[in-house]
């Protein structure tokens, strides 16, 4: 249901608009003014489930941003791409929901994963992430987006 042409670089931030699972929303709203919207699409997606596939379709690079609970130290930034994502895609264990891992596994089976997929996850605990941590995450996403734009020969930031 896309009425316009989407840029080939997309930053898809996943989460809820409400605390405590609002990291993706906070990141998306901070990132939205950073890029030329003709070159980079930044979206905040509220628990998209399989609809994520629709948002990735046609993109050359997708940078996924989400909160992570892996048992690592809170505020740890996880960067996954290439084969490092295999573990995440294989780890689909939800009994009734379609979470990120299930959706990526489904996309892979259907040949719908973008050529370049990167995952930036911030380890969270029960506490709300500090603004410093959000800034750190936004910097990391900006850096990955620049690399993607550079490799596709497009302009960088506004």
């Amino acid at each position: 249901m896309n009425a316009h042409i989407h840029p080939s670089v997309r930053v898809l931030c996943i989460g809820s608009p409400h605390e405590p699972d609002n990291l993706g929303f906070l990141a998306a709203h901070t990132l939205m003014g950073h890029f030329n919207p003709d070159q980079v699409e930044v979206l905040a997606l509220d628990r998209p489930g399989p609809r994520l596939i629709e948002h990735m379709r046609g993109a050359k690079t997708v940078i996924l941003v989400d909160a992570v609970k892996s048992g690592a130290k809170p505020d740890t930034l996880h960067r996954l791409e290439g084969h490092a994502l295999d573990g995440l895609i294989a780890h689909h264990t939800s009994s009734h929901g379609f979470g990120l891992a299930e959706t990526l596994a489904l996309a892979e089976k259907m040949g719908e994963l973008p050529p370049h997929l990167k995952f930036l996850g911030l380890e969270v605990d029960k506490e709300k992430p500090s603004s410093d941590v959000i800034v750190h995450l936004v910097k990391a996403v900006t850096e990955e987006t620049r690399k993607a734009l550079g490799s596709s020969g497009q302009e960088n930031l506004r």
Binding site: M1, A3, D46, R47, P50, R51, I53, E54, H92, S95, H96, F98, E102, A105, L106, K109, M110, G111, E112
Partner: protein
Amino acid sequence: MTERSFNVNIPVLTRVEGEGALDLSIEKGQISELRLRIFEPPRLFEKFLEGRSYMEVPDMVARICGICPVAYQMSATQALENILGLQPGPWLSAMRRLFYCGEWIESHSMHIHLLAAPDFLGFSNAIDLAGKYPDIVRRGLRLQEAGNAIIRLLGGRSVHPVGVRVGGFWRAPSTSDVASLLEELQTLLPEAEALVQWTATLPLPDGQQDFESVSLGNAGEYPMNQGRIVSSHGLDIAIADFEKEFSESHVPHSTALHCHHQGQDYLVGPLARMNLNFSTLPDSTHKLAIATGISFPSANVFHSIVARALELHLAMSEAIRLLQGYEPSDSPYQQGTPRTGIGFGATEAPRGLLWHRYELDETGSIVSARIVPPTSQNQARMEADLRTSLNHFGLDKPEAQLRQHAETVIRNYDPCISCATHFLKLKIQHI
């Protein structure tokens, strides 16, 4: 028939919404105990609503379910408008039907492709199904997204929509958004037709059962938002009389209430609706239904998946019709004045009849609320079906096959346990 005794335990039922389990004891070749255990904690929504303004109800009840929020909003607004004396005009009735079409398309497509179809084709989940049939799953996702787009048009967003208020919608959609959506749906209609044809080819289990179908009916159309409560046993009552005929009770093994009609289990949902309202299908859906070779009313509960696909096609056709006739409105809602009273609402959620009752005080605060979701109504029927289906399947089958068949039976009902508590571990005990 073997005389063995054993227990089967399905500790967590997968591919259902919510958390539950099945305990099954087979003693000397007979089922001695069968309990569909719903252990998800009670969600107490009815209690949360007490003391809140009637205007808060549509947003609050939308939170009961991420898959069928429209149903909760539509039953609630109907009941509250019943108290306020508001009558929806033709524009609002059409938009509410359009809104409901979106939810049926989204929910039915998800259930058919991601939850139920893997059972009938021998896959453990939709991800494995997508490995062999990527185009089928892709079609399912496209249809699901179309449903979500309809919900967004009127609700602002597809999950827990916020566009609904008592009296109507906060705003009317723009003609340009309507035109864009109409074009998308017209493109997808052949896919909805292909879906019906595909479900009719699935190797569905046989098995005729004796059950009562209950749904809205006598609505002058295939029911979504209005009608009387009718059944295959001749029931025909106003929605306000639900409590005189139907009773809920606690069972020790479930945090969801079991609902009975005059002490008997009954079926709600797509097959019940199709069984009772077949003659009201629009011509195009009716022709597709005839071509499936299934004769409705059907006593094979596994025909639910075909009924679901037919309803998806109906909803797509109806949505196109309603969008083609769309005229924007300067008054998408009516303003009500709070007053004391009791009101009733009943609409057809994707999973079946969803009944609400509210009492308001003179300030418009909720004094009491009662919500009877479809999964509660189907629980006793699911247990009865499991007994019949497992006996028909053969209790001498290996435990793994019994487990798979039990899960298939339950998933066929598309239970939404999160709504009902407000699903499945299977524990089979050979004694």
